[in-house]
Symmetry: C2
Subunit: 317 residues, 2 copies
């Protein structure tokens, strides 16, 4: 795509330092990767739009890191090891060098931590809000990628970490509640992708909770052709989320942006699942089960009655 | 990334019909490809912004096809065979179903013609202009990707097709000149990626002319550490471009969006180059040569004097 001289400078200054050898120093028409014959490559891509997926006053460091981590979470959900990424930026004239310098710094720190590098991308101008697309590549041994469509009647439903913090963090950032220690805000701004847990051969279905627990459970139910029962009071919440009281439980169940893993696992594999999570020091909680059915998700309260949900899934703010 | 129900409908309606098996029906967190050990994968990505890279009143069919073809051209420049693509769309509420229906129709026709399919993507809303990112994957036998950085002193400089039509087409679309038979406009809207010419082992450097002939020659010169001489009157122009007169020659030399291949070739390989182009029925013209140097491009007129260029490279309108 056509570029002005300013774009080459912009790329060279902020993004060449992030480039891996596959990027050909960001000077080629394309990146080149050289897979061996023993692995599959997974590809996932997400776009963040200023004012839709992040707030204009979010710190640029965390915007870059969130963009990367959201995609790393997709790698985690597929059981893949991150490899590299492409980055496309459409930038408004209002965002200056300082913003992108901090953005690239955050990205650089995270790519070092997670062990991947920049393979390529594109930068353009726009008269609208900042739009960024990150496309991640991961590797997985051939045939061992995790899917969403194999949950079985009788499986247990498990989730990592705690659910709802990010949705509450967004409420805090938009002035709808207080977040005294900043924990909820941090969870919204910096997801923790649950990479590295060896789940192949243990779980029957996996995804990362991005749309909201109930809506994402619905994806597994639909793709697998089963029904899923969630017991509301078993859904793990952080102390900060619990402190807000059960009035916010519905927000936790349907709020998005958690990036925890939602897994279905046959009871016979429970021991292996717990051991795999323990070895990676990742908390994991059983929150329901899978029944025969046709794509429905039912949330039950502590008495076994239907739990009233305010909304089925997260909406963009 | 978080999605509302409307986005799932949107994806299912317009884009699931374009999906290949690697896309897992666009229902997974990621696409999965399974390369053999004998090929490299090339990855190229381009973003188009409404009002920057295409005009708001451009027909949606051609916008989709141009987005794909611009990336196919990157495949051609690397000597790769297209494989599949990811598509990210940030859409304003003002663009309705009709627009995307026509857009997807254009994409679908081109992907059938060029033999590739949709692997995945993301759709989001935006309050700004339409922004679309297309990321293409191509395959090339291991180690046989073409590069830009190996042009040698003594090589000849060759270009496919005709140069400048797209830049003149943009001038026609913006009312700066007339285009009686619509040829120039068509060249701007629908690039013809020069896929399939077997150039490995024949050319020393290759790229596709997207920024403008002179600026792109500069990329080869810089990356290869050579100087490039272009003879202005040898640069092939279409009858329609010639008809406008030499007043527009500078526009042709520095205008972007041609998506022809610019190649450097040792004189000893000239016969093979001509034969490869002939077999694919692609016109090719020698327009200059490579000298020892440090990244400079010189354009000469018919008398061997420096040709005056209005600008070094294409700017976004």
């Amino acid at each position: 795509m056509t570029k002005g001289a300013g774009e080459f400078d912009f790329i060279a200054r902020f993004f060449r330092p992030l480039a891996g050898p596959e990027a050909c120093a960001l000077r080629n028409d394309a990146a080149i990767i050289s897979p061996n014959g023993h692995e599959d490559i997974i590809l996932s891509t997400d776009t963040l739009v200023e004012g839709v997926h992040f707030l204009s006053n979010d710190p640029p460091e965390t915007v870059g890191r969130k963009l990367l981590r959201v995609n790393l979470s997709d790698c985690a959900a597929m059981g893949a090891t991150p490899y590299g990424y492409l980055l496309n930026i459409s930038r408004p004239a209002s965002l200056g060098e300082d913003w992108f310098s901090a953005f690239a710094k955050g990205l650089g720190e995270d790519q070092s931590f997670y062990g991947l590098s920049l393979f390529g991308g594109d930068t353009t101008s726009t008269r609208g809000p900042l739009v960024m697309t990150l496309t991640i590549l991961g590797r997985v041994p051939k045939g061992e990628a995790l899917h969403r469509n194999n949950a079985q009647n009788g499986d247990e439903l498990w989730v990592t970490g705690t659910i709802g913090d990010a949705a509450l963090g967004l409420k805090a950032l938009t002035g709808q509640l207080t977040d005294p220690d900043g924990f909820l805000t941090e969870r919204y701004r910096l997801p923790r992708p649950r990479l590295g847990i060896p789940l192949f051969g243990i779980v029957t279905a996996a995804l990362d909770v991005s749309d909201g627990l109930v809506q994402d459970a619905g994806h597994i139910a639909e793709e697998s052709g089963v029904s899923i029962i969630i017991e509301a009071e078993k859904v793990p919440r952080s102390p900060q989320a619990r402190q807000l009281g059960n009035a916010y439980l519905s927000d936790c169940l349907s709020g998005g942006d958690d990036y925890e893993l939602l897994l279905t696992c046959p009871p016979a594999q429970r021991g292996r699942l717990l051991e795999a999570a323990r070895q990676h020091d990742i908390p994991i909680t059983r929150i329901g089960h899978v029944e025969a059915g046709e794509g429905k998700v039912t949330v039950l309260d502590v008495d076994g009655a239907p739990f009233p949900l305010l909304k089925a899934g997260w909406r963009h703010f």
